[in-house]
Amino acid sequence: MISYLIRRVLYAMPIMLGVAFLCFMLVHIAPGDPLVAILPPDASVDLQKQLMELYGFNRSYPEQFFSWVWRAMHGDLGSSIATGRPVAQEVFKAVGNTFMIAALATLIGFFFGSLFGFVAGYFRNSWVDKIASFISVVGVSVPHYWLGMVLVIIFSSQLMWLPATGAGPDGSAAWIWDFEHVKYLIMPAVTMSFIPMGIIARTVRALVADILSQEFVIGLKARGLGEFGVFRHVVKNCAPTAMAVMGLQLGYLLGGSILIETVFSWPGTGFLLNQAIFQRDLPLLQGTILVLALFFVSLNLLVDILQTVFDPRIERA
């Protein structure tokens, strides 16, 4: 097993390099001059040349790539063209915010998803199953940005229970875990939880139905194992895969949070990405995508490793 783990980690390296390469190429396939955002229209050729020099856009692509990677490994992702602040700082601040709603969303999604999935699997092919399965299909089919809008309509506009946008009365900088602030957290997290809920419900339903239909369950019951015992047994068998799926969903949410954060003006990485795109702030764009993608790869790696460690049935060559 150790050799498998080593190989798995080693294998992630070229992937990460490939990801970095892709991030780098992304901004260079963008049409248009990278400096167009900050240069005044009548800038002199000298000024243009100076700025190109400063940002390194006048060097060859391989040079730019390697120096960028080198600096990134030391934590320097350049400075935002728009604000001048270091990209790394902006990104890591934003990641914390995104992580809050993503983690909460994953937990909510996992809880309800497992619940519906379990119920559907236990009572498979009955009307309970059909309702629970329908709910999970709704979960994966709903456009989450629209759902966010609907929730804002219901809970902010009509009922006035929750604030519509933002991360707290004084912005995200002054976050405290009290109700005043948590109010802002609820709707984004709930909106985000629908898709993981749907996916986990589907996965759990399939797992439970599969385990219960296996013959050794009948064998267990024949030996007098009560309902609760069977239940515990099913949980033990489902848990590793379900948790793996949960981990992956967290990764997807972290990387794909832009739409929800735009609806709720939540100052996370997605929001940052949105800004970077529209201001054509290339260092910020590059840096944010790189961090998010690498996070995702690392999360996948972690989930894989944990699954191998905790689920001895998985055979790794």
Binding site: S3, I6, R7, L10, A317
Partner: protein
């Protein structure tokens, strides 16, 4: 018909297998790029001839290399070394390119269901091979229907059906028809009847015998069922751990087995006579490991006659020149210089 294609004459063996070797390297369990440490020695130096018009049976335990040998014979797997000579010409040479060899040798697999494309009708499956070799499709379909009739399935009822609509025995008949579609001279049957019910098995065996007569075929019949092998084979070959240990006519091998493994196999057959039941397992000792076979004679760890020399020296295959290919065996008890070491009676127990 087959006489027209006969090149080498009746005394030329149809297929000569020479020093066939096929090892499957085990992927290094450590880091990638490390060189493979060991290999499964599936076929480890196999030599035999298949004579024209005969049925050669092949027996042995699971894992002895029978199926791998069959696949190498069909060139579905390429051997690491060794050659095949078909009717006097080397397979893969300019005189006999692979594509031409394929028209002369065909195979029937064990799993009747997975050997048929589930999305193709029966007649299309049978007609596929001839169309590949240039036969126009309506003639191929006609041939397919004729073959279906010949194997006992009415074309009107079966030609348009799909594999899942047929029983196991019917599917195996289709597989036989499919193998005959190219009018081969050699048909390899790899456990072709093993998965069938006994009554169906008998029908299919009789069909095989009829077809052999009618089309002048030569069979290589692989099976672990000794009764079936005895019924259908002219000569029998016994394999152990990737090597041939005994070969001879059916009567010779079954009535006067020479190799200790053959004797043990025969003794392990459940007896048909309730008054003389087979009681103990004749083979003791650990089952063989194809990755790290025992030194010297591979069977010596389980052999009832083993002497110290057996662990040191590998036996050479020797045969006497009696009729029909001779009765050959790879055992030190029959080699001139070591035979005397075994003169004292008494069997060794490895239990």
């Amino acid at each position: 018909m087959t006489n027209q294609r006969d090149i080498g004459g009746p005394r030329q063996p149809l297929l000569q297998v020479r020093d066939l070797l096929k090892h499957f390297p085990l992927k290094g369990k450590g880091l990638p790029f490390a060189s493979p440490r060991s290999a499964v020695r599936a076929v480890d130096g196999v030599n035999f001839d298949i004579l024209k018009g005969e049925t050669l049976g092949v027996v042995g335990e699971s894992g002895c290399g029978k199926s791998t040998t069959a696949r190498v014979l069909m060139q579905l797997i390429n051997q690491d070394s060794g050659e095949l000579v078909f009717d006097g010409e080397t397979v893969g040479s300019r005189a006999l390119p692979l594509r031409q060899f394929r028209r002369q040798a065909q195979m029937v697999f064990q799993d009747s269901y997975s050997s048929l494309n589930p999305r193709m009708t029966i007649e299309d499956s049978i007609a596929f091979a001839p169309t590949v070799h240039g036969l126009p499709s309506r003639e191929a379909i006609t041939r397919a229907r004729d073959l279906l009739a010949r194997v006992g399935l009415q074309p009107e009822r079966f030609a348009g059906r799909y594999p899942h609509e047929l029983s196991g025995g019917q599917r195996q008949r289709v597989n036989i028809a499919r193998a005959l579609a190219l009018e081969p001279r050699l048909v390899i049957l790899d456990e072709a009847v093993s998965a069938l019910d006994k009554s169906v098995e008998a029908q299919v065996l009789n069909l095989l015998l009829d077809l052999k007569q009618e089309f002048g075929l030569t069979y290589l019949f692989i099976s672990h069922d000794l009764n079936v092998v005895r019924f259908i084979s002219d000569r029998v070959l016994v394999m152990y751990l990737g090597q041939v240990v005994e070969i001879g006519s059916s009567d010779q091998v079954f009535d006067q087995p020479r190799h200790p493994y053959t004797r043990a196999l025969l003794k392990s057959m459940p007896s048909m006579d309730p008054l003389q039941r087979t009681m103990e397992a004749p083979l003791a000792g650990d089952p063989p490991n194809p990755i790290n076979p025992p030194s010297g004679c591979r069977f010596h760890t389980r052999c009832a006659y083993a002497r110290p020399v057996c662990g040191q020296r590998a036996p050479v295959f020797t045969s006497d020149e009696s009729s029909g290919g001779g009765h050959g065996v790879a055992c030190l008890r029959y080699e001139a210089d070591t035979a005397s070491l075994f003169s004292t009676a008494g069997e060794v127990s490895h239990a």
